[in-house]
């Protein structure tokens, strides 16, 4: 059986178009580059100040000045650029990043997202999450359909502290793809053999069905 995180990453990868500037959050989104179709060369942006990052370096070949926002060592592709944090977030907030793919704790049917503060207890780490969901042209959320306890993460309204309102345009779980627009949430695709009833059972939000 495929790791559900790979199911999600593979499908999220299909949301990206060649040449787009994309910022990938930590966790599932980091698996996306492995699933990009040949010729779909997205340009990876990392909010700590790089555009055009390449594969992970070989062990021992890390450059200590070259990390991504998850503090992992990276490499640069030819044509990469390096800049400071103020410039990097200017790019993000200014709408120059085509898509961000990131995880979430909850997404509401209006596209609100909560992804920086875990239930019960202050996380005290927000990093660039708020900037990215507000600024990126498309916000693609990759998350399992439910919490480990089985609670739906797609909810009528977020109960956790918000990251941003009406920001998410697409949600990919291990069982389904949803799109969100002014008209609300739409189930547009079933994944990995899941059925409509299963998706209904693990989704707390109202949604319409627009399976192609």
């Amino acid at each position: 059986m495929t790791d559900p995180r790979d199911v999600i990453a593979r499908r999220a990868a299909a949301e990206l178009r060649p040449g787009e500037v994309v910022n990938l959050g930590i966790g599932i989104p980091n698996r996306i580059p492995a699933f990009l179709a040949p010729g779909v060369d997205v340009v990876l942006h990392t909010e700590n100040g790089l555009l055009g990052i390449g594969p992970r370096p070989a062990a021992g070949a890390e450059d200590p000045d070259l990390i991504d926002a998850g503090k992992q060592p990276v490499t640069l592709l030819p044509g990469a650029a390096a800049f400071d944090s103020a410039a990097s977030f200017a790019m993000i907030r200014g709408g120059h990043v085509d898509a961000v793919v990131l995880g979430a704790l909850q997404v509401s049917e209006a596209g609100d997202i909560a992804n920086w503060q875990v239930p019960g207890g202050k996380a005290l780490g927000v990093g660039g999450a708020m900037d990215l969901v507000v600024g990126a042209r498309r916000v693609i959320v990759t998350m399992t359909a439910t919490t480990p306890e089985g609670a739906p993460k797609l909810v009528p309204a977020c109960t956790l502290p918000l990251t941003a309102r009406a920001a998410v345009s697409c949600v990919v779980t291990e069982h389904a793809v949803f799109r969100i627009d002014g008209g609300g949430l739409a189930l547009v695709e079933l994944l990995d053999g899941a059925g409509e009833e299963q998706v209904a059972a693990e989704t707390g939000a109202r949604y319409r069905v627009e399976l192609g």
């Binding site: 040449g19 340009v43 640069l76 044509g79 650029a81 800049f83 907030r93 120059h96 600024g135």
Partner: protein, 229 residues
Amino acid sequence: MAATRTTAAEAIREIPDGATIMVGGFGLVGAPLTLIDALVHGSDATDLTIISNNIGEPGRGLGLLLRQGRIRKAIASFFTSNPEAVEAAMSGAIAYELLPQGTLAEAIRAAGAGIRGFYTPVGAGTELAGGREERVIDGVPCVLMEPLRADVALVRAEWADGLGNLRYRLSAQNFNPAMASAATLTIAEAVEVLPVGGLEPESVHTPHLHVDRLVDAELSIGDVQGEGA
């Protein structure tokens, strides 16, 4: 998205009537002379709003566009480099707004940076506040300035790479980097286009995500000196 390589004539054709266009340069230094020439001679887009530090000189650069009657409104800090622009503004032939040069630069940067407004002490209590909201912050009177966006930015760099990363030379930078970030469609001309990888990552002034079209610069200041004389 990396920039598309094209010609000035092709790129300029994308500019519709009524567009707001930012044009880089301080006087003619760093001005996108090739693109301005294409706009003047190879486009009939009219009813334009121009955002630029100067509106060219009489019959040179943007001064030619002014003579063609294609400018509806101009936003600048220094109309006086072109007496014909001053005359057009005074007579009502064009609408205009005069801004302090730093406020002009910062408002353009703000647009590119997704900042929806900023308080600056510059111009507070003067007629260049233009009726904008004023507020005293920490005892300092300030003006609330809105970002300045454009449909199209025309900029010039000394060096580009094949992706559209740009690097400017000396005082030819001026308004170009901010403008490149503040438009829906950014068209850059470059004196020299290097292979991808030809610019050091830390030496890129404008990363390619800001650049949509890249053309070869074919005119330099010497070519337009005295054009209108």
